[in-house]
Symmetry: C2
Subunit: 424 residues, 2 copies
């Protein structure tokens, strides 16, 4: 089954809404009809609240008040992000019964732009995993093969967009949690620069690396949503003909993924970047920060965690403090190296994930243990806080692979301009 929004961009929807061919209430009905429970994309659907928002959007448009490109558009929100009046479940039994009393900052900005919040999407428990298959409400499933993982932790958001249930979803990305499921599900995903979108009202995983990001079918739609979330005007995207693009090499990549992805940018020079060292820095800092958030819960109610999450947290809690301090120092050094690299090149290109989506429950792949392999090309850009975009690059054996593009904060439009010219 393919949902209504597959193949429809925000631009298409906006035209239909403004021509009268469609209404916000109608788009919401399409979204609700498109939700396929077997994929487990949504953990909460707010049909009633969304209907009220859609009616208000329609009334405003009829009265001549136009809030811009998200006006009347159905949007899904990852279930670690607070939406006033709805449960925030975090994919965990720990937050059973918790209902948020106010919107997260990013949700408030979406509402102010006229978006219709359809519901909450399945998250890897506490966003602490890149596979998307560990949650009290079960795994989100890959629309390209439901026996395979969606990727995570924003798995439900990626599935909801990829399967055409909604045209846009909010995710969070601490080590790749927007980009990995976007790549596995064959859509676009954008992690802005660190701090560009406020994380207020988002449950923390690792405060040094937590980012709010967006998932949509196309890079152009990610840009539209990103500009709403950062309160920037919707300027036309300028072309950039002579971008200096370098391929980043720094971790093993499966042959079929390398072939698909590298074929998109033939001739670009290669740069070796110490992604393995950055992964160590990422792990030491994330482990310490994540356990700090959970220490009391692990002590008081360990049985409420999914076993894999509890196991991971307990190991994280054993990271010594001096490793955190060392990693923080190394992070500063890597930031200088990255800045130098981004003076030589406008954009860095690499695969988003070195493999295509493994089976649900699969722990090993040809490149090693699945979890670190999933993060091996994404988490460096969280350590460095750089904007990173993934766009669909094609499929291998029916499973999508993503091309990841990275640049300096403030130069995000280079990513969108480059993506606009790519033909997978």
């Amino acid at each position: 089954m393919t949902g209504f929004f597959a193949g429809r961009t925000l631009g298409d929807l906006g035209r239909d809404l403004r021509s009268g061919a469609e209404t916000a209430a109608g788009l919401l009905d399409r979204a609700l009809e498109s939700i396929d429970p077997s994929l487990n994309a949504f953990v909460t659907v707010d049909a009633e609240g969304a209907a009220a928002a859609a009616r208000a959007a329609d009334e405003e448009l009829a009265a001549g008040r136009d809030r811009g490109p998200l006006h009347g558009v159905p949007v899904a929100i990852k279930d670690i992000v607070d939406v006033a009046g709805l449960p925030t479940g975090m994919g965990s039994a720990h937050f059973d019964g918790y209902v948020a009393d106010r919107d997260a900052a990013c949700v408030a900005r979406l509402r102010a732009a006229g978006a219709v919040i359809v519901g909450k999407t399945t998250t890897h428990e506490f966003a602490y995993g890149a596979s998307g298959d560990t949650a009290v409400n079960g795994p989100s499933r890959n629309p390209h093969d439901p026996s395979r993982i969606s990727g995570g932790s924003s798995g439900g958001s990626a599935v909801a967009v990829a399967a055409g249930m909604v045209p846009l979803a909010i995710g969070t990305d601490t080590g790749g949690s927007v980009r990995i499921p976007a790549a596995f599900c064959g859509i676009a995903g954008f992690k802005p620069a660190y701090g560009a979108v406020p994380t207020e009202g988002v449950f923390p995983l690792s405060v040094s690396f937590d980012h709010v990001g967006v998932l949509a079918a196309t890079a152009a739609d990610c840009r539209t949503a990103y500009r709403v979330l950062t309160r920037q005007p919707q300027d036309a995207l300028a072309g950039h003909d002579d971008l200096r693009v370098a391929w980043v090499e720094g971790a093993p990549v499966a042959d079929e993924v390398a072939e698909i992805v590298r074929g998109l940018l033939p001739g670009a020079p290669a740069e070796r970047v110490e992604l393995r060292e950055l992964r160590r820095v990422f792990a030491a800092i994330q482990d310490s920060e994540a356990y700090e958030v959970h220490a009391e819960r692990v002590a008081d109610a360990p049985e409420l965690y999914q076993p894999a999450t509890l196991d991971r947290l307990r190991r994280a809690g054993e990271t010594p403090g001096w490793r955190y301090v060392r990693a923080s120092r190394e992070r500063a050094r890597f930031a200088e190296e990255a800045a130098a690299l981004l003076r030589r090149h406008d954009v860095l290109a690499l695969p988003t994930v070195p493999i295509t989506a493994p089976e649900i429950g699969q722990e090993e792949c040809a490149l090693g243990r699945v979890q670190p392999v999933l993060l091996s090309l994404t988490c460096a850009w969280n350590v460095l806080g750089l904007p990173a975009l993934t766009v669909p690059a094609g499929t291998a054996g029916g499973l999508p692979a993503g091309l990841q593009l990275v640049t300096s904060a403030g130069r995000e439009d280079l990513l969108f301009a480059l993506a606009a010219g790519l033909v997978p």
Copy 2:
């Protein structure tokens, strides 16, 4: 034996130098004669280099070039601070044979002000201890009773000033390492605000808390040296009649110390401050940062440490990273509370150390284990980065106790003004 500089202020010395009653070369000779090896204040004496500097100072003064209040004045430098051409021993066998090739920033500023560097003073090994009795060159000894500790880690600097060997010494203070030995030896010691004096060229203990400070017989002389080190003009000290002073209560204090110290400021109101919690924050951060500096040395050559230092480092290395993260969060909260407290009061007053100097090797005292008791009233002001001054408050059984005064960064002169009016 009491050295030449006992009872002589920087003002006295400056007058004698400028009247021709004394020369820099003569002051240096007095210093060298005053050094009592039995107190183990100095680990290196640079008679030759100092003589050259003294001659140059005399020639400059004779030629009408006057560099200000430290011109021609003998100064001692703690042996974790680099002085070009001299060994920096760190109190450790690890740095046997190491000779610094350039001056630390603070030493360069002293030289630019005409000071004569006499030599290097005994430090607790790597400045990692408040007792001053653990060093490869043996303990520095309290001039008031050589069987007792000087306090540390800037023990040699405090002894050199207290015994009149020099009128001024440089120390460092990460948890109290200037103030504790100053209080135990009956002199003044000032830890400036965090970052006020550069730490470049100083071996790190815990970078979040490391401060360069000064030790002298009087608070006024500390102010003079502080202004040289921060390149501030030597403005006259303004009087402050209506200072709002509060007593800080937050850790047990021995009766005899409380009596001496509180008697200096009768009538001031008391405020309870969570010094115990700040001490936990201090320990988690210092432990992690200190071990990060030493991790490779502990792994490669543990036998080169004094046993007590090695034991302490190994325990420090076990502090979990999440405790470091938690402590960093709590530190931010305490900083807000301290700022509020310092809006209600101009100056906070408390004893510098809750006890008088224990015997060398003594591990327990009436208030508990000696090491944490020593730090219990000082380390909070390192966590908060606030300027803190200790001044002699009197003696109990012949052993000195210190009054500690704390204020906001930028208001240091309140401390010196208050101290100027106190009569022990």
